[in-house]
């Protein structure tokens, strides 16, 4: 417990940036999902660090709910990926254009 808060905030900023890069540059839908999970995690890290430094448990409760919603999001998102794969036989997000037709 001797690490200053700024380091945790910087670390989660770096992780968030890597997640954004993954969403922007990867074309595999599953890897894009994993990048979203990474971003959620970096935000969780920020919340826990701030909550612990302020001695207020509300931030960690919010993290608990974020994890629950992330589980739901992963389940539904991967189901959508499977449904798209069944009709298109690809998980490349640049080849999915459901709005065109």
């Amino acid at each position: 417990m001797e690490v200053t808060l700024n380091w945790f905030l910087s670390l989660s900023a770096v992780l968030f940036a890597i997640g954004v890069l993954g969403v922007l540059f990867r074309r595999n839908a599953i890897v894009v999902f994993m990048s979203v999970e990474l971003m959620l995690n970096s935000v969780n890290l920020t919340l826990v660090a701030l909550s612990q430094s302020m001695g207020d448990p509300d931030g960690q409760i919010l993290v608990f709910f974020v994890i629950a919603v992330a589980a739901a999001e992963a389940a539904v998102g991967l189901a959508i990926v499977i449904a798209i794969f069944r009709s298109k036989v690809t998980v490349d997000i640049t080849e999915v254009n459901l709005f065109r037709h």
Binding site: M1, I18, V48, G55, I61, A70
Partner: protein, 169 residues
Amino acid sequence: MAAQLLFFFLATVAVAAALGMLLSRSPVNSALWLVLNFFCIAGLYIVLSATFIGVIQVLVYAGAIMVLFLFVIMLLNLEAPPKLAGIDWARVAGFLVGMALLSQLVYAIAAGFNMTPLAIASSEAMQTGDAAFLAESLFTRYALPLEITALLLLAATVGAVMLAKQRFE
């Protein structure tokens, strides 16, 4: 001092694992790098003495969610299966030693710029990270959101089954 070194080690491995997820070509490798990243973040929660969230992180993220990802990758059978040639322990050891050296370097640079000290309040933090302390407000003040989360998870389960179900026509 020990907590600082642990923080720098875990942070360096977490960033390296995130970069590995971003740069590796196979989705299976990406998923495994992400598992390493989640474990490092769980370790950081323990460093922050948020033990409950750390355990939840390992159970839900590194356990359930990543197994779901790997399961879907396996189900879609995206490419040739990765080689199961056994673990090259020399490379694992090299990765760990390299990460340890890099984290020490970052720590030394940070110490050189006088940027390490100033503790986060510790005795309070010890208490607020405790499962009993969190459960107290989770089941009183936040009882309604907890129930709504249960509903959300039920809806997500039903929705996932509906979406992924094989259609019999």
